[in-house]
Point group: C2
Chain length 258, copies 2
């Protein structure tokens, strides 16, 4: 944990913040804080700041917090993801939040098993702490907005413009053995320096032809990360890194041209 | 599993290959093969090919294999990694092999705990099957060559030229809050289309000043993936994806110029 995040409701102006049991255990066991020590803090979807340890008691630790930092910019990448196996999904949440995503849009596909939608890994009380863990790792406060869409066609045709209108759209698709798919850098070449990107990642068996056609008909350009077939976890991390890097590159290029 | 890999010793010319218990279970339980079905096969560090199911019996499955595919090119990226916590290391092996690394060079750093070197995750009988799992996922046969170097200074000063001579050297280092570190694309800008890259990834607490200076004195250029602090797993996957993408980009650019 590189930043300790609080729910907005836990932070009342002027009052010290009473830590949760897990937060207390971390400050005691890992950071071994004493009164007067400071730690980086933040409010979910709010500013960062500094917390000063006011007291360390058996009942818990109290921090006096000054939230005088900036509210981080919302990550400029959104992810449209075919729901993976529950065990995979559960481990993926923290990676996604650490890498930075504005929205996680979960959906169905032919190769998604129907019962995945009933899994614990899609329950907000399960995934929210895992997202917070990722934000605390990356020193971010902007909680990804998660939505679940069982009907892929309705999502793509009717809902995506509201959820992620104006974003550059890319669908990750493995290159054929002969190569051929565009790289993410080239797929992002036309994107403005401050625009957002929405990247679609399919199930491990891939999108079927109908799904891929529907995405392409709605503005998604194909991009590949090479000929290797990756698991959902490896692929999501690799793809988010490439899209963020592509956007940073665009922003740096635009700054140089000014 | 997208390719079933065999040890060279298990493949005798002309004889059918008798599968291991795990391979039998996969073909039976997941692929539900019957005699006459074909599956993709490969020999570790050898060619790929096609296996035809000869018999399915309680004692196991026999495959008649034709290893008539190419031997894949060794991945052009090598990884120098400060040994992470055993639990993290154990889960990382398959990701590394799936993304493609020629060598994994494990080493010490100030922020590596000494007992990590005694962990099960660094025993070949533990990590080899995990590497094979990653290769089977990515349809590769080239097993990463793993070496363990407890003395960081000796490794960098004396051994690296033998292990990874001629490779472009990059050390991943988090950007400062103000940005500033080069991107991987710019760090790879001078690399020839067929050259190799060696990328160094530090412990979660970072390289210390001595370690960073020593790496820089031995030709490592700094590159960053942005201001976010990532865990070793997220960082390794992100960095390997960026370096592979940068090299593919160089190769594609060189091909266009011909």
């Amino acid at each position: 944990m590189n930043l300790m995040l609080f729910e907005p409701s836990a932070v009342a102006a002027g009052s010290p913040v009473r830590l949760s049991a897990a937060q207390t255990a971390h400050l005691r066991g890992v950071l071994r804080v004493a009164p007067g020590d400071t730690v980086r803090v933040g409010v979910i979807d709010g500013p960062t700041g500094t917390g000063t340890v006011a007291s360390v008691a058996d009942e818990g630790i109290e921090l006096v917090c000054a939230f005088d930092g900036e509210v981080p910019e919302r990550p400029r990448v959104d992810l449209l993801l075919a729901v993976p196996r529950p065990k995979v999904m559960r481990r993926l949440w923290a990676h996604l939040a650490a890498l930075g995503v504005g929205r996680v849009i979960l959906t169905n596909a032919e190769k998604v098993e129907r019962d995945y939608f009933g899994s614990h890994a899609l329950r907000e009380d399960v995934f929210r702490p895992l997202l917070v863990e990722g934000l605390e790792q990356a020193r971010d406060t902007r909680l990804p907005v998660v939505s679940i869409h069982k009907r892929f066609k309705v999502l793509v045709e009717d809902d995506l413009d509201t959820l992620a209108g104006g974003a550059a759209r890319i669908v990750a698709h493995p290159d054929s053995a002969r190569g051929g798919a565009a790289t993410f850098a080239s797929a992002l070449a036309g994107v403005g320096a401050s625009e957002r990107a929405l990247v679609a990642v399919g199930p491990e068996g891939g999108w079927n032809d109908f799904e891929l056609s529907l995405l392409e008909a709605h503005g998604f350009a194909r991009a590949g990360i090479g000929p290797r077939t990756l698991t959902t976890t490896t692929a999501c991390i690799a793809i988010l890194a490439l899209v963020h890097d592509g956007l940073r590159h665009r922003a740096a290029g635009a700054a140089r041209r000014e």
